[in-house]
């Protein structure tokens, strides 16, 4: 833009400042972000998703696809189930147990159909653990949608990271790296289990 138009535009912008609206004022959207961050912010879903991502990354594309689809279905079931049966409480330990099982499978190096089964169990556990508290239907749905997207993104992120490492470290080196990661994950799960569920 040239000439006086530029000056008028600058003057208009100067005279008409509004509030900075970096955060959308859309009503209820905060619930979406709360749900989105929940799987990464709470230890049990985080550990579960990390372990499942590791197992899926080790499983190879065909099994990983099946595991992911089952995870999606189970996650949705876990998020929706509380609508019918009420919000469950104190079920976080299930996600931790699935995380431990998945990490043990990864440590063994023998990742097969069990990875798919664990993805189903993990999706259900993460869904139940991320189910929103009771409230207006619209707000609950928005929060549940955030949890669904967040849990998915996290799993895909971890799976993608492991897959990239698999591409670079082929064969035995990848297996050793994955087993070391699984060992460290089990150590964290054990310690957290003692802190959270101990006396």
């Amino acid at each position: 833009m040239r000439g006086p138009g530029r000056g008028w535009l600058a003057a208009a912008l100067l005279l008409a400042p509004g509030w900075a609206l970096a955060h959308s004022p859309m009503p209820g959207i905060e619930g979406f972000y709360t749900g989105l961050l929940h799987p990464a912010g709470a230890p049990e879903p985080l550990l579960c998703t990390l372990a499942l991502g590791l197992v899926l990354g080790m499983a190879g594309p065909a099994l990983a696809r099946r595991g992911w689809v089952l995870y999606l279905g189970a996650l949705m079931a876990g998020l929706v189930l509380p609508f019918a049966a009420g919000t469950p409480a104190g079920l976080e330990w299930i996600a931790l147990a699935v995380a431990l099982a998945a990490a043990v499978v990864a440590l063994s190096g023998a990742v097969h159909w069990l990875a798919v089964v664990l993805c189903g169990a993990g999706g259900l556990a993460v869904g139940l653990g991320s189910a929103p508290d009771p409230g207006p239907v619209g707000a609950v749905l928005i929060t549940a949608a955030g949890s669904f997207v967040g849990a998915n993104l996290l799993l895909l992120l971890v799976f993608g990271g492991v897959d990239v490492v698999r591409e670079r470290l082929r064969g035995i080196w990848f297996l050793r790296a994955a087993q070391v990661a699984a060992g460290w994950l089990i150590a964290i799960i054990l310690m957290w289990g003692a802190f959270a569920y101990g006396p």
Partner: protein, 199 residues
């Protein structure tokens, strides 16, 4: 103007000096919350010399034992150490923990100094026995203020990185001079352990 220059120089010197004397402790990290817990866990294995040398020694010995022990030991040690920490958190009593930690330095140091090789399973049993003591001590010394989950993550990562550091140093055994250097490191580890044993 000379007077102006002198004043300017005075200001240039005085302002940083003023800042130096008027400064308080840097408080970017308040030592609590997630970051505080993570840093606390990360630092915990590093601050005790007896712990530190033993963990590096595991990696050094692994380098002498070669594959698969070189990868098995850094998986086994954090795993069993987390189990020991779990026992510590749960309040399970283990006798002579400090003696066990000091002995771990002495024995692992001697194994490195004499370049003793043994089957991977036997090495894993020896390392596991010592890892229980190290973990128990860390579990009972857990600072109350730390975020337990972040503490566990930092603690396991620091332990694992110390092992990897030991493996890295142990890779010097590819060269004859490096072998002697690593064996001398074993003597040093053993001496540190002996000092803690006597003290």
């Amino acid at each position: 103007m000379p007077g102006h220059c002198v004043f300017k120089r005075f200001l240039l010197a005085a302002v940083p000096l003023f800042g130096l004397f008027a400064s308080a402790a840097a408080q970017a990290h308040a030592g609590h919350g997630v970051a505080g817990g993570f840093l606390s866990g990360l630092a915990h294995p590093l601050v005790g010399l007896d712990h530190l040398v033993a963990m590096v020694a595991v990696g050094l010995w692994g380098a002498f034992l070669r594959a698969p022990a070189i990868w098995v030991l850094p998986v086994i040690f954090p795993l069993i150490m987390a189990f020991g920490a779990m026992l510590g958190v749960l309040g399970v009593y283990i006798p002579a923990v400090e003696t066990g930690i000091a002995l771990s330095g002495v024995i692992l140091g001697l194994l490195i100094a004499f370049a003793i090789r043994m089957p991977g399973a036997a090495a894993a049993v020896i390392v596991s026995a010592f890892a229980i003591f190290h973990g128990h001590a860390h579990g009972t010394e857990l600072p109350d203020a730390a975020n337990p989950f972040a503490y566990a993550v930092g603690f396991v990562i620091a332990t694992g990185l110390l092992h990897l550091g030991g493996i890295g140093l142990g890779s010097l055994i590819r060269w004859p001079a490096g072998t002697w250097l690593v064996r001398a490191g074993g003597v040093a580890v053993s001496v540190v352990g002996a000092v803690f044993l006597i003290a």
